[in-house]
């Protein structure tokens, strides 16, 4: 082979693809968000339309509420599981962890359908729309919380805990003063992997909330579907991008390269 190239030139095809299909499409959203659908001129009208409408505002609030609730519940379930797994002397720790994250590989629509059939069987499907939606979100995203927590907890230096005990700390103090702060990176990356998708995964809220629960993702989908208002849809998408940006500033999601990747490291 007499291919002559420099190694850094290899960045070109990749960057070209990303500019063409990631950056430019985002600029399209910005353009549409600030464009008046009827006149084609510049406007803030789409944002006004969104923020002055009580239905869409309540959708935004409900989405954030569902996302917070899901994230908290996921954390409360995932933390003890990850903690026990990481600390235990089980010989087959890896197998157990595998059992907990295995569902990640099953198509999520099929998994949600399984939960829907189960809720139908126990007679809950038609009764508790909000509960079912949150349950579905927790069901879908739990592995994404367990995995980063387990990874940080297993890496933790165990002698620190012994040191805390030697210095007179009881189990509770040791947990709150040593283990919890040290597992913070895992908690943060778990939150990033659960919070944002929960705000927008309308497949779950549609399937389990039976159309009674509208989240922000559904609102955008409607704008591109039945409501046919791409301008408003793009404006809402920009609002969403803004929320993502803010939450990234809080969680430092821009910094961590390895943990931030959804599901990276599971193979």
């Amino acid at each position: 082979m007499t291919l002559r190239f420099s190694r850094k030139q290899l960045i070109i095809p990749y960057s070209l693809f990303m500019v063409l299909f990631v950056v430019i499409p985002l600029l399209f959203i910005v353009y549409y968000a600030f464009t008046d659908g009827s006149t084609g001129g510049f406007t803030f009208g789409n944002f006004l339309k969104f923020f002055s409408n009580s239905t869409s505002l309540s959708t935004l609030i409900i989405s954030i509420g569902i996302a917070i609730l899901t994230t908290v519940v996921c954390l409360l379930i995932a933390y003890p599981i990850a903690y026990i797994l990481a600390r235990s002397n089980f010989k087959k720790k890896n197998v157990l962890l595998m059992l907990f994250v295995l569902p990640m590989w099953i198509n999520f629509v099929l998994r949600i359908n399984a939960l829907r059939e189960f809720l139908d069987l126990i007679g809950l499907l038609n009764k508790a729309h909000l509960f079912n939606t949150v349950l579905g979100m927790v069901y879908d995203f739990l592995p994404f919380m367990i995995l980063p927590l387990y990874t940080t907890l297993i890496k933790m230096d165990k002698s620190l805990i012994e040191a805390s005990a030697d210095l007179g700390g009881n189990a509770f103090t040791t947990f709150t003063k040593v283990t919890l702060p040290l597992s913070l990176p895992g908690i943060v990356s778990g939150i990033t992997m659960v919070f944002m998708p929960t705000m927008t995964n309308y497949v779950i809220s549609d399937t389990l909330g039976l159309g009674h629960i509208t989240i922000i993702g559904k609102l955008i989908e409607d704008c591109f579907g039945s409501r046919n208002d791409w301008y408003l849809g793009s404006a809402i998408a920009l609002v969403l991008l803004f929320i993502i940006f803010i939450s990234m500033l809080f969680t430092g999601g821009f910094k961590d390269e390895e943990n931030g990747a959804r599901g990276a490291g599971i193979w």
């Binding site: 190239f5 907990f100 099929l110 989908e221 390895e258």
Partner: protein
């Protein structure tokens, strides 16, 4: 003792939560009843119906093919890109890294509509090409993110040594760098396949009308009350679950063996 019991109880509760719906679905895939919960005797009826359902079989084939096409493209483009980023100057690498992170951080619905907008601007019809691009966009960053850590772990002198020994740059890349980062490439490929198979939102916004993946087909079937295909989907879920269990177990044993082999050789 009590502590241990509590530990087991928590783990058991977690597993019960995760597996009860799946387990029920598998059990009731062996009875022909329409609604889940009524047992009408053991049979393989649903499986026979599923395999005779040309539509679902076609959709399964299309879904797998799409995942493979998209993942192969992502893996090639992503590996080349990762090597490029790794050897680029700081500014160029930083710019590429920012672009890599956009689809990872971004909400899927935003990625989906952004693609819908540009395809609408270029051509009115969504095609298989737009769908393929959509899947490459959501999988490509993960390939890059899987390969870059392997490049960082690699001994930088290896490439130089190959050049000193008379290898051309491209030969050094293929014979020295590529084998070193192969585990990252494989992991990226597997991740890409999983993400593509799992996707609903980007698929829904980029697919041509009439084309369905498992995700879009199941989602649309659920919305129709008493859809005739729903019981068959139980059988499909059971099969997919079985395949995944087998694949995960096989990959894990292979991984362990490789690790042991490496330990012995080191």
């Amino acid at each position: 003792m009590v502590k241990k019991a509590i530990k087991y109880a928590i783990l058991a509760f977690g597993l019960l939560f995760i597996y009860t719906p799946i387990f029920l679905l598998v059990v009731f895939s062996f009875t022909p009843a329409i609604t889940l919960g009524s047992w009408e005797g053991f049979s393989f009826d649903l499986y026979v119906q599923l395999f005779n359902n040309a539509k679902i079989m076609g959709i399964v084939k299309d879904t797998v093919l799409l995942a493979l096409f998209a993942s192969v493209i992502s893996t090639i483009l992503g590996t080349i890109g990762a090597i490029g980023i790794f050897y680029s100057k700081k500014k160029a690498a930083a710019a590429a890294n920012v672009m890599t992170r956009i689809p990872v951080i971004n909400a899927e619905i935003v990625t989906a509509i952004s693609l819908a907008l540009i395809f609408a601007a270029v051509a009115l019809q969504r095609t298989y090409f737009s769908l393929l691009i959509g899947h490459v966009v959501i999988t490509l960053p993960f390939v890059v993110l899987s390969v870059i850590p392997k490049l960082k772990q690699m001994d930088g002198n290896l490439y130089e040594a190959a050049l000193d020994l008379g290898a051309t740059p491209s030969r050094a890349l293929f014979k020295v760098v590529l084998p070193e980062i192969l585990p990252g490439i494989m992991a990226g490929f597997m991740l890409a396949v999983t993400l593509s198979l799992d996707d609903y939102i980007v698929t829904a916004f980029t697919k041509p009308t009439g084309f369905d993946t498992i995700s879009t087909y199941v989602y649309n079937s659920i919305k129709v009350p008493q859809h005739s295909a729903l019981p068959q989907l139980r059988a499909l879920s059971a099969i997919i679950f079985l395949i995944i269990v087998v694949v995960v177990i096989v990959l894990n044993t292979v991984n362990k063996k490789q690790k042991k082999f490496k330990e012995i050789n080191d």
